[in-house]
Each structure stands twice: as structure tokens, then as C-alpha cells.
Subunit: 538 residues, 2 copies
């Protein structure tokens, strides 16, 4: 899979480029100045068991094609491809694979390593799901080693069978353990791909941001990474320790119901390891539906066991072992509110007349309308006033909660917002994942996002800051204004936009006074159906 | 999905670009100078029933995302991605969709229309399966309207249930009827996309080439197209009329076995229309395996009924109604023999020493070795002598049989070979589908094929000839040497290569004297597992 128009012949001969790993040799390919290795197996695993080291091999294995994505409970549907452009890819339980983009194969190159953790909650997605994720441009521009990886998701990664015997003790966390295994592979092998195992940045978006946050709460991962970036991270704060513990109980209930649906008795639980995937998926979905009738919802994320996984830090406390990890955290202006979720009008918001905009805001905000408009105009003086209707507060408040806890515990953390309006529908607030193509320098491959000159400038700023952070543990660089870290009392926020600037606590009042608004009914995106355990619509 | 690096902002506003169709308005997008409409529904259909016109709609439908591919019996596997680069895409029975690339939306533009029929036999694939298929570069360079489409495949398209009632009379040909419906949609709507409904070229590769050949044998399609190109077309000649008729019997046997596997009695056959796809697919696979035990193999292609489909022309005769259709037909040097099928050595053939090459040829050709080498050197003086081991004769002989019959019946047909050696493994003979990226001008997106300068030159030649044919019903153009059509006695062959030249009957003696050679065992590619009804391997 190659998105870029080639300008030179790809090198992919009989014995070049070949790199050594702990388990055997791999043969990749080389574009103009970047080596690409795809689909390298970093672990093997039996279903519901912890990952193990892969089997060694003789000779040279081809690493030309991406490896399998993890199986998803629902099949993908084509119109998920609107707005966020996808690659669909074959799925399998054998999904412990990683990809590498690097400009060096010399052992002494010791370039910063950036390990990408894909989004899609902990239930869907892959390292190849989005066009935005392709690592070549970032590796080439930044002279860093980019790694992306797949790991176990949904029922395969987070079903808590620990009630059924010691061998399932960690079944509710094996998908998280895959991440640890991948980071261990990076530590042990990345030198052969020009990387510095002593300088590893983990970064991810949405569920991938949650993965970064949770790895800091996973003792087995300590020492395998050195800094982290949480882009629009989900799963930050579950509403306290009790809610967090409750999630484990739900996973256990789901396990019991799934076994029952499959007709597997308590004395023969190991049968669940070999039932066909289709049957397991169907039984799991039925378990989810039954739980929903009881008002319970399976979250498909690592389960808090106080052992392998120490729990969401906002609920269970930040670990002192990792509080020294430099962090960046941030969100997009609109996240899910801009495109799918808020249908105030049939006309795109950018084309509303002043009267129409005013009427909609008055209806939404009631007698608080004037105050909210005033505070919004102060925080975002450069925007259309109706954008206030599409401002995300969900991810923002999760991020602010994380920042507060992290800074209070003594950690160093920087905050950003990605605010660029996309050209879609004549102007749409930045949606969930809009910043990714700027991190990876792939904006020009996304037809819903690319704006000539603006995109290039913003790629230099966003990727510039991310690369500086990967190199120096500090995102400050020539491409952006000075960017101070947060304190427990103050949140300086780098606002990436057509004109990027730093704003300090700029939206504090607005957030405090933003009322609960009546949001018009919106159709669930098909992606979300899988999350909620509902069958996708055509 | 966009493969090209954008250089200008995509136009995709609230009401532009919008085109009218018979059923309602569609909104696409516009790159620099090309309009793109994706996933337009051209028909609807009940399972095993003939396609009908789609339902009309109010307002404007988005045509941003590609539509579903047809369901395949086996799930795809990632390492099919070696050498031939794939897009994987969501699959559904609702697969009657087409895509359009055009530089014009004016009704009076009347540009030549080129309708692409994808390969993968009649059992797999889609208009979005291969990177090579993207139509933008061809439409942009040639100022033609490129259309590609999906239609029903495998059991969904070609299971003959006609023994079970009048309503299933055509069930063995509904996938072919989808093609006819798509061509009817083109005839009725393409003017609104700048196309000339009076000048439609159908072209396709492998199974897609077979589709071109079979459409000429389908009375319902008469008048819906005006010329055809068969690239490495399969299914040309089944070994005579009896073999051809036999295939229908096998499809009927498969239908009976599938019903039996599903537990559906003869008095309740309509139940097969609503069983879940997974069950239908499983029952079909079991039917295939049972038939294989009897030595029968289901071919998943239109069934000869002497009514809707008049049968393979080589077996059943060319139809006088369509013999006036100008045609191009050709093959690749190696087809399936170059990469997967012939493992004579662990070392790539390009690196064999003269001694090694000689020893392998002596072993393969026995006492005919010297004569075969002499004839090969005469026919292909510019090649490594060991290439003779990888020369395709299967597709070639099918093409020659088609040419002979077509010319004898009075038709005009041109012949080509695509001979460019790819850079893969230091030099690999042109494989099955290698020419597609040259037709579509997408070579620079394929890492296994692109050769700077050579690829651009060859794109101009191949696409130049295809475009001239689409415009003038004659492939001659400035980019290539003079190219005469075939006669029943002589086959002038345009040999596309680093240096493209015309050779007349150049390989006639070689083909006549080429012995049956002992081909080393080779593993089936995973794609082929689906065809043979075997489960894919990981």
C-alpha cells in the first residue's frame, strides 16, 4: 500500500533492504530515502492468554505487506468513509504486528522513536485504518523512527474470565499486554532500524490517547517508553473509583453471559478459546444486548485489577513511577459535535444568516445566550459566533481533569487545541481526529481536509512541536510561539489554527458557564453502532 | 479514498458539484480539473432475482464514498497484498454501484465513455479492489469519462435455480444482468456527466476481460456499448459446446446441494433468498467440496441458457449482432507463471548464472531445450534466455483462439502483449494484471512496478492506444508504431515494453513447439483458494 506518487524506483531487491531482529531477518523496501517494514510480528498469543515472544525463523521474511487488523465485532460499512478516510484491511486474531518507517538501518543512528497507538476505542481500528496514519512523511521530515502497531481489541482483548481459573487471570487485560509486548519488541530491536531504545515517545488519538494514559498506569510497561502524547484521548475519568471498579464487574458479567450463550459450562471454559470467531462474536453481541436491558454497558477497555493495570489515573490516582513522564495532551475544537451530532439546521452552519444563527443560539442557550456569546467571542474572537454551538466540552473536560491531576501530582504536561476549520460543507469545525494528518504530515492526501499553504504551514507547526517533544522532551521549537507547560492553577493552551497562538485559560469562564444545551437528535455514525453493540445500518 | 497528493483544495461545497440522474441528484467532488462521483446506485435487486431500477430520491445524495463491494465466499487475507496492491473494502449484497471520473458536467460535452469491468473471475474483486483501477488519471489525461462498477459475483450472481420456478429462470445470470443494468444506466445518464452514450468502450482484465467477451454474447446488452478491450481475459473457450453446456449442469447440481445443506426443501426454495449470508456462503462452500469429490468444479460464471446468455463464443459461436464491435485483445508475458507458479530455484531468475539457467532449462525442456531456446531467442531477442521458462501460454492460447474465431467471423480485432519486466526480485516477467496501471496511468503509485521514465513512456503508449481506440475505434496513434488489425491468417502483435514494437506472428513457431514442461509444485495464492473452494491459509 503506497499513497504517495513515487518519484524514484523502490529498492526491494533480493537481499536489500534487510534488517536483523531478535527472531530473524526481515526484508523491507526503500523509497527515495526512507525504509519501510510492514507487518512484522512482535508477539504470538492464544485467545484470552497473555502474549508470548514470536517463534524465531530461518532466512529472511518479507515485510512488504501490512499485517492483519484485529477482528471487530461488527463488519465495517462503506459510508464510514465519508469525512474520515479509511483503509479497510483483512482482520484476524493474529494481529500482533507492527510497521516501521525509518531513514536509517545503522545501529548507531539512535534516532528518536515514535510509537503510534491507533484510535477506535479499545474495540476497533488498526494501524492501517486511516490514511492519516501512514508514517513515511513524518519519518522522512523529522528523521525519526515511526512505529505503528495492531493489538487485540474488544472481546478478544478485554473479557474478564479471571473467575474461571488462574490461566485467565489477565484475560481482561491481554489487549493492553499486547501493547506492552510491542514496546518490549521496540526496546529490544529498534536499534537495528536506526532507533534509540532509550528515547521512545508513545502517542495516540482517541482510544489511542487512552492507551497512552493507561500505559502509564501499567507497571509492566515502565521503562519501555519515555514520554507520551494524548490526542483527544478518551477514557480519562470514569466518574470515580467506584464507577471504575464497576466496569470490571460488567466485564465479568459479560463473560458469564457469553459463556452461557455459547453453551459452555463452568467446567469446560477452555472451549471458549477455540469456538469459531463468528460464534464468539455473535454470543458476545447477545451478551451486550442482554446487559443493556439491565442498564449496563460493556466498555471494552482494560479492567482495573490493581495488579496488571492500576486503573484510570483520574479515578485511581497517578502512579509515582511514571509521573515524571513528560506529556502533551489536547483536543479538537469540535470533536464529535461538528459533523454528526448537532443538526440544528439543514443548511451548513457557515452559510447561516446572522438572523438564523441568532435564532438557533437563542433556542439552544435560552436566557444564557447573550452571556455565552460574549464569553465565546472573548475566547475565540476569530470565529463565526455560531461556532459556539459546536464547541466540544466532553473531551476538553476530560483533558482538563487529566491535566489537573497530572500537574498536582508533580508532572510536566503541555496542552493544545486543534482549531482549524475544514473546507467540508463550506466550513466545518475541527472534528475528532482532524489533527492526525497534521501530526503525520499527510493533510494533502485527505480530500476533506487539505487547504493549500494553510495545511503545509500547520503541518510544520504541529509535526514540528511533536518532533521537538520526541527529541527534547519539550515541544517548543521555532515553528510555534513559546509554549509553557501547565501548572495546577493555569492552563496555557497552544491553539493550532490558520494563525497559531498561545492562549492562557482562555476558555475557563466559557466552560464554567456553558449551559446544558438541547442537542437535536442525531443518527449514530456506523462506527458507533459497534461500540454500542447495535447492528450497523446500510 | 484519494491516492494522489492534492495540489489544490477539493471543491465539495453545499451545492457543487451536483449532477442530475434519472433517479435524483448526486453531489460529488472536484479535484483540480476532474469531477469524481463515487458509489452511485445503478440498480437494486432481490437475491437471485434480476436487477431492477433503483428507487428515486428527493434532494441531493452524497456520492463521496465508494459503494460496497460484492460479498466474497472467502474473507480476504493480508498477504494477497504482496505484488498486487489492494484496497480492501466493505462487502454487501447491495453492490450495484458505479463510480465516475470526468472533466465535464455539460450535457453537450459528449466525451468518449470507458466502462471498466473489474477482474477476479466472476467470483471476487470490485471496482475498488486495486490501486491500479483509480480512474482519475485516465480521465484527466484523456479527457474521457471513466466509469467503474461493482456487480454480483459467485453464488450471488451465478447459481442456477431455474429448476425451481419461473422466478429463478435467470438466477444463473443475474450477475451478468447487473452489468447490463449498469450499461443501461450509463446510456440513460452519462450525458449529464459529459459522456457520449453513443460511444461507450467496455474494457476489463482477467475476469473483467471475460465479462467484455460475454457481454457481446448477451442480447440484452446489444446497443449499450460500441467497442471492447479484453486484457488477459479468462473464460475464452471451455473446450467445446459440450463442456460449456456441462457447466450449467454443475451450477444446477451446486444449487441442489446448497439447498440441501441449508435444509431447504423443494417446496420452500424462496427461503434461500433470506438466509443469512454467512449460512449461504458456508452451505455453498460445502456444496463445492462435495462436487469436488465427484471431480466436478463450479466455475461461477454466467450459465449458458441460449436465452439471456448465448454462451462463450469460442464454444458456441460469435453472434452476428455484435461481430461488428471493434475489439482489442492481449496478454502479459508471464501472467501467472512469473511470480507464484514456477519455483525453479530459490534465487530470482534474473540472478541465475548462465550455467544455472542452462541446467534448469535442460531439465525442464529435455531434448527440446536447444530448439526452444533457439525459437525463444528469435521471438524475444531482447530478453534473458531463461525467461522462456516463464512465458505464459494459457492466456495467450485463449486469446489466439478468440482472435481466430472473431476474425474468421468477419470482426476487426487488434492484438497486443505487455512485456515489461518489473523491478520485483531484480527483474520479474510481467504478471497477470501488470498492464492495468499503464492503462489507467497509475504506475507511479505501485511500488512493485514503477520504473522512472520507462513507466511514464509506457503509460503514454498504452493509455494513448486505449484512448485512441475509445475515440476512433482504432488504437493507432502517434505514441506507438503502426498497429494493423489481425486477420484470420496473421496476428500482428503490438509488444509494449521498454522499446515498444510490432511483431507479426513472432511467437507462432515457439508456441507450436513449446513442450509440456514439468512445473515445480507451487503454493496456491490465497486469492485462488476462494476460486478452488479451499479455505485460505494464514
Amino acid at each position: 500500500m503506497y499513497m504517495k506518487k513515487l518519484t524514484s524506483q523502490v529498492v526491494m531487491t533480493y537481499d536489500d533492504p534487510v534488517a536483523e531482529t531478535k527472531y530473524g531477518k526481515v526484508r523491507g523496501l526503500k523509497t527515495e530515502d526512507t525504509y519501510i517494514f510492514r507487518g512484522i510480528q512482535y508477539a504470538k498469543a492464544k485467545r484470552f492468554h497473555m502474549p508470548e515472544e514470536p517463534d524465531p525463523w530461518e532466512g529472511v521474511k518479507n515485510a512488504f505487506a501490512f499485517g492483519n487488523a484485529c477482528l471487530e465485532l461488527n463488519t465495517p460499512v462503506a459510508h464510514d468513509n465519508d469525512i474520515v478516510q479509511h483503509f479497510y484491511y483483512p482482520q484476524s486474531e493474529r494481529c500482533q504486528v507492527l510497521n516501521i518507517w525509518t531513514k536509517h538501518l545503522e545501529k548507531d543512528a539512535k534516532k528518536p522513536v515514535m510509537v503510534w497507538l491507533h484510535g477506535g476505542g479499545w474495540f476497533s481500528g488498526s494501524a492501517t485504518e486511516l490514511i492519516a496514519y501512514d508514517g513515511e512523511n513524518l519519518a522522512q521530515y523529522g528523521d525519526v523512527v515511526v512505529v505503528s502497531l495492531n493489538h487485540r481489541l474488544n472481546v478478544l482483548g478485554y473479557l474478564d474470565l479471571s473467575d474461571y481459573g488462574e490461566e485467565y487471570r489477565y484475560s481482561g487485560n491481554v489487549g493492553l499486554a499486547d501493547l506492552v509486548a510491542a514496546l518490549k519488541w521496540v526496546k529490544e530491536n529498534i536499534e537495528n532500524f536506526g532507533g534509540d531504545p532509550g528515547n521512545v515517545t508513545i502517542f495516540g488519538q482517541s482510544g489511542g490517547g487512552g492507551k497512552v494514559a493507561y500505559l502509564l498506569q501499567t507497571p509492566a510497561a515502565d521503562g519501555l517508553y519515555h514520554k507520551g502524547i494524548i490526542q483527544s484521548g478518551g477514557y480519562l475519568g470514569h466518574g470515580g473509583a467506584e464507577a471504575h471498579k464497576h466496569n470490571r464487574e460488567v466485564s465479568k458479567k459479560c463473560a458469564a453471559l457469553t459463556l452461557k450463550q455459547l453453551g459452555i459450562g463452568e467446567d469446560e471454559v477452555s472451549k471458549i478459546e477455540t469456538v469459531p470467531w463468528e460464534d464468539l462474536a455473535q454470543a458476545t453481541m447477545e451478551a451486550i444486548w442482554l446487559l443493556r436491558e439491565e442498564g449496563e454497558s460493556v466498555s471494552w477497555e482494560p479492567v482495573y485489577d490493581g495488579d496488571y493495570f492500576m486503573g484510570d489515573p483520574v479515578d485511581m490516582g497517578f502512579r509515582k513511577e511514571t509521573i515524571g513522564t513528560p506529556m502533551i495532551i489536547g483536543t479538537c475544537f469540535g470533536e464529535f459535535s461538528g459533523t454528526h451530532d448537532r443538526h440544528f439546521s439543514e443548511t451548513p452552519k457557515a452559510l447561516w444568516s446572522a438572523e438564523e444563527a441568532d435564532a438557533i443560539m437563542r433556542k439552544a442557550f435560552g436566557d444564557k445566550a447573550d452571556r455565552v456569546k460574549e464569553l465565546f467571542a472573548k475566547a475565540y474572537p476569530d470565529r463565526q459566533i455560531q461556532d459556539v454551538l459546536f464547541l466540544d466540552l466532553d473531551f476538553k473536560n476530560q483533558a482538563l481533569g487529566y491535566i489537573k491531576g497530572f500537574a498536582e501530582a508533580g508532572g510536566t504536561i503541555w496542552n493544545y487545541m486543534f482549531n482549524l476549520e475544514t473546507p467540508y460543507e463550506c466550513g466545518t469545525v475541527a472534528w475528532h481526529n482532524a489533527e492526525e494528518c497534521y501530526v503525520f504530515r499527510n493533510a494533502a492526501y485527505l480530500e476533506y481536509e487539505y487547504i493549500p499553504e494553510v495545511s503545509e504551514k500547520l503541518e510544520d507547526e504541529v509535526s514540528g512541536a511533536w518532533l521537538a517533544f520526541a527529541r527534547n522532551s519539550d515541544p517548543n521549537c521555532d515553528a510555534i510561539p513559546e509554549w509553557p507547560a501547565c501548572t495546577k492553577d493555569s492552563v496555557p493552551c497552544m491553539c493550532f489554527d490558520k494563525v497559531t497562538d498561545l492562549r492562557v485559560d482562555h476558555d475557563k469562564e466559557l466552560i464554567a458557564e456553558y449551559p446544558d444545551i438541547e442537542v437535536p437528535e442525531f443518527p449514530l455514525s456506523n462506527k458507533m453502532y459497534a461500540f454500542y453493540g447495535v447492528k450497523p445500518q446500510e
